[in-house]
Amino acid sequence: MTTPRSKRFTQTNLEDYLACAYRYWLAHVQEVRCPAPEVEPLTDWEVQTRRGSRFHRMAEQVVAGVRADLLDPKDDAILAEWWARFKRDAMRGLPTTRYAEVSLSVPFGGLRLAAKLDLLAVEAGKRLVIVDYKTNKKASPKSLRGRLQTQIYRYVVARAGSAFTGGVEVKPEHVEMRYWFAADERPSVRLVYSQAEFEADEAELTALVERLRAQTTFPKTDDVSRCGFCTYRSVCDRGQAGWVEEHDAEPVVGWGGEREGLFGDVE
């Protein structure tokens, strides 16, 4: 088997594939978990991911109807700063029909191509704005357009977004991706989609998935700089953990308690 065990192509597994075929194979085909530190210092990384994850949950609460000021964090000054910024302009100019933590997918390359969005703001027949909150300083606005995340999210929403428009057709021109930065005062990056980009993305993603499917071996990357933020370093004998300031991963959102409870599991 060469395809992800989850039967989904996602930003994460395709990015891993592009970074290192072996990492992709270990993480997504074999689903091997390696308990090594992802980055150092571990404590800073933990604080950063927990803060990011809490921020994403708070944003979800607002969409679910909780007043933003009720959520003002009193125990974390940095988060409080992010939250003040969120209240000021994260939702500015967005259509008022909003969905948080949206999962969309389309059949693709024999499996599904999936996107999990922080927020989708919809004005049927006119605009579908995908909002992605960036909570680390590393993400550079320039690199965002060429990012696999941008490609996959806009493509998937262009194809499957009518689930949120009551069936009204979605054209690529209706789709916009907006990166919003919590950790500093950078303005949002807005990337409006087009038919030409849609076609180019489809061709590129198809070629990528075909390449992946045709692969019979999964070699380690030659570029050792990619190993810095990889938990499989010890498996591959590839040096020490990278530093948290250079890492640009975003936290995974959840309500905690991932393990099964006494009655009924909590997923």
């Binding site: 989850s6 039967k7 989904r8 074999q30 091997v32 978990r33 390696c34 308990p35 090594a36 530190p37 571990l42 404590t43 809490r54 949950r57 979800e60 609460q61 679910a64 109807g65 909780v66 007043r67 009720l70 959520l71 009193k74 125990d75 969905y99 949206v102 999962s103 969309l104 997918s105 389309v106 059949p107 693709f108 024999g110 499996l111 599904r112 999936a114 194809r159 499957a160 009518s162 689930a163 949120f164 069936g167 370093r233 010890s234 498996v235 004998d237 953990a241 309500w255 905690g256 308690g257 393990r259 099964e260 409870g261 006494l262 009655f263 009924g264 599991d265 909590v266 997923e267």
Partner: protein, 706 residues
């Protein structure tokens, strides 16, 4: 008899299934025994709903536990589904935690909980652990639970079970002890235990309210009281459930039934399904009568599905078992109930396992039956039984897989090893590992080191890691320089660690793994199975640390964690069940777990059919699944007749459930002496014997007994 097929339906759906698939607006209440094709039809319904343009995020698929949603997840995750948003999978546990987390500011304020802090959701293990910390002083001072001869984990587990039932059934958590006492008619000393149960529950609840630690019972209460009535919350959940599928509702408790019934009342369409003669999770509060009342009432139409492709003989055997367990079934079917039934008996337990292995090998090798089509089930699957069965089958080249709810982390050799290393690296904790423990570390981690040399190294290091160079030359030679160098790498790492500030325990495990143990020259290098065990340990220690950090507890978290781990109160590692089910191999599983995974196979072996475990209720001296249920009339006394009836009903349902999930042969395998060497006098075999005699009598034959 299966139902008539709808003419022209090329998929072969029965009339009833077609109704389920094509059901329009409002709620449809569906019942039928396992194998009636309810779930298969419901998956098809989801396919058609999405196919005709219903938005996935407005379809909610509810099941009592994640495992039961597997057929739906298979379809939803597959490429044949149309593009769109994904349906929502929901369990009542998830709904309550999600709801309380989402609307926390309002919940905290309304419930008088500490505002300004994040809720700390406790899983079962953390709740047990915390209860231990809260109750322990009372155990010492006031002597509570002094008369209970049970491991602490089971005491706390049963108190929590009772608290969960209070929330799920809807009675006051402060009345658990009274309710249990009112139903008790035996020894007076038991009443003291019930008082202690109430004391522990009260103490724990007070602690949770004070700190914002939310165990399952409190989460459910908060959800029902403060989230569900919120208009914003209700609108949010209703938007997620415009179309609903609720499968196996009999395995949920009344609180879930009430909440889901209200959603049925507001959605565009709902199909609610109940498995007859199941209710296997009764000990967790599952209540089929509540389901049949509340949910059937909420639906507009109803439907009964008959077993699909059911064999007459299997039906006959189920009917005979019903009679044998004392449940009248009217006229018994004429068909021979023993078609597809084999008996396999041996004198000793290991001989039985040998014979079972031979039978399985014949299916696989002679008849070409795929390994995944065979299940070996038993009331309990001990480590010994699992190992012995696996060994026999794997020696014959037959793959196996096991489905057990949880495994203790402390049983993993790698975990033991990391715990010893933690003690060695933190001498300030004052716990000195034994020579044996150090030997175990060395042999487990150092590639190429055998037990003899590991023991030698451990003994000379005198409970501390001594430098290799300090060993006498003859000793160094015996160990070899190459292995000595590996030993040194580990020793130097520990020494360097001791020079710095101690770090969080999970970080310690992660670092020593990454920097030494998974490197070349060590056994964990490239061993992914060991990596999974270490990852589970890191997760467990991390979630424990974060929980403790969120609570006002002045305790040394790391040492306490290690104590909890070694006592088994902490570190119950969840197996990823869906993965096991997707793997290849003969399935070895406890009978109830097999039923709750809703697996259908060609052949089953009932291991240890002579064991009393087939009919015994789970021993819970501090709890009571019947007395603390919505169906119990408060104040009535639980009698021996009730006990007998509930045991017989449980046994019958277990057996019927297994038979309905077997398409080919059922082998009843037993030995005169059980796993522990005791003579076996099981009720299951007696019931089977009565069937043999009854059939023989009907046919005018004599029997030699069974």
């Amino acid at each position: 008899m299966g139902q008539a097929l709808v003419e022209g339906d090329e998929m072969g759906w029965s009339e009833g299934q077609t109704r389920l698939i094509e059901h329009g607006r409002g709620g449809l209440w569906v019942r039928g025994v396992a194998g009636a094709g309810k779930t298969t039809a419901a998956v098809e319904r989801v396919r058609r709903l999405l196919g005709r343009g219903v938005a996935g995020h407005t379809v909610m698929i509810c099941t009592p536990q994640r495992l039961l949603s597997r057929p739906y997840r298979g379809f939803v995750g597959g490429a044949e589904r149309v593009m769109g948003s994904d349906p929502q999978f929901m369990t009542f546990g998830r709904l309550t935690q999600y709801g309380v987390g989402l609307y926390w500011p309002w919940v905290a304020e309304a419930a008088g909980l500490p505002t300004g802090v994040q809720p700390t959701f406790l899983d079962a293990e953390s709740a047990q652990w915390l209860m231990g910390l809260v109750v322990a002083p009372q155990m010492a001072q006031a002597g509570i639970f002094q008369t209970v001869k049970l491991p602490r984990a089971r005491i706390y587990g049963q108190v929590l079970d009772n608290m969960n039932k209070a929330a799920l059934v809807g009675f006051d958590v402060h009345t658990i002890g009274e309710r249990l006492s009112r139903a008790w008619s035996g020894e007076v000393s038991q009443l003291r235990m019930y008082e202690d149960v109430q004391t522990a529950a009260d103490l724990f609840r007070a602690y949770c309210l004070e700190t914002g630690a939310l165990d399952y019972s409190l989460t459910v209460e908060l959800f029902l009281r403060h989230v569900w009535p919120l208009p914003a919350a209700r609108a949010h959940f209703e938007a997620m459930a415009r179309h609903m599928i609720y499968d196996n509702c009999e395995e949920d408790a009344p609180a879930a039934h009430h909440v889901f019934a209200e959603l049925v009342g507001t959605c565009e369409s709902a199909v609610v399904m109940l498995d007859d003669e199941a209710n296997y999770r009764r000990f967790l509060g599952a209540d089929e009568q509540s389901a049949a009342g509340v949910l059937a009432e909420a639906c507009d139409e109803s439907l009964v599905l008959e077993p699909y492709g059911d064999v007459e003989a299997r039906r006959a055997l189920v009917g005979h078992f019903a009679v044998s367990f004392g449940f009248e079934r009217g006229e018994l079917p004429e068909a021979d109930p023993f078609v597809g039934v084999e008996r396999l008996s041996a004198r000793l337990f290991p001989d039985m396992l040998d014979r079972v292995a031979e039978r399985v090998a014949a299916w696989v090798k002679d008849d070409g039956v795929p390994v995944n089509e065979i299940a070996l089930v038993s009331p309990y699957v001990s480590d010994g039984l699992l190992f012995a069965m696996r060994y026999r089958l794997e020696r014959m080249g037959i793959e196996t897989r096991s489905l057990r709810p949880s495994r203790m982390l402390r049983q993993e050799p790698v975990v033991r090893c990391l715990v010893t290393l933690a003690y060695l690296a933190h001498p300030a904790w004052g716990i000195v590992p034994t020579v044996e423990d150090i030997g175990h570390v060395l042999v487990t981690v150092i590639e190429g080191l055998d037990p003899v040399r590991a023991a030698l190294l451990a003994s000379v290091s005198r409970k501390r890691f001594s430098p290799f160079e300090t060993l006498v030359a003859a000793m160094q030679e015996r160990v070899t320089l190459a292995l000595g160098e590996r030993y040194e790498r580990l020793r130097r790492w520990v020494e360097a660690y001791q020079q710095g500030e101690p770090i969080a325990l999970d970080h310690f495990f992660s670092r020593v793994y990454a920097e030494v143990l998974s490197r070349r020259g060590f056994r964990m290098h490239g061993d992914f199975e060991m990596a999974q065990a270490v990852a589970a340990l890191v997760d467990s220690a991390a979630s424990y640390r974060l929980m403790m950090a969120a609570l006002p507890m002045e305790v040394d978290s790391a040492v306490l964690y290690l104590e909890g781990l070694s006592s088994g109160l902490l570190g119950q590692r969840s197996l990823s069940e869906p993965d096991v089910l997707e793997g290849a191999g003969v399935l070895i599983a406890p009978a109830y777990t097999f039923l709750m995974a809703n697996q259908f196979v060609t052949h089953q072996v009932w291991l240890d059919a002579g064991s009393g475990g087939w009919t015994e209720r789970l021993a819970q001296p501090l709890a009571h699944p019947y007395v603390l249920s919505a169906q119990w009339e408060d104040g009535r006394v639980w009698t021996g007749i009730d006990e007998g009836l509930s045991a017989a009903q449980g046994a019958y349902r277990l057996i019927a459930g297994l038979l309905r999930r077997c398409r080919g042969t059922v082998v009843l395998a037993s030995s005169e002496y059980g796993e522990q060497g005791m003579p076996q006098q099981g009720v299951l075999l007696n019931a089977f014997g009565r069937i043999v005699r009854r059939v023989a009598k009907r046919e005018g034959r004599k029997t030699d007994g069974v």
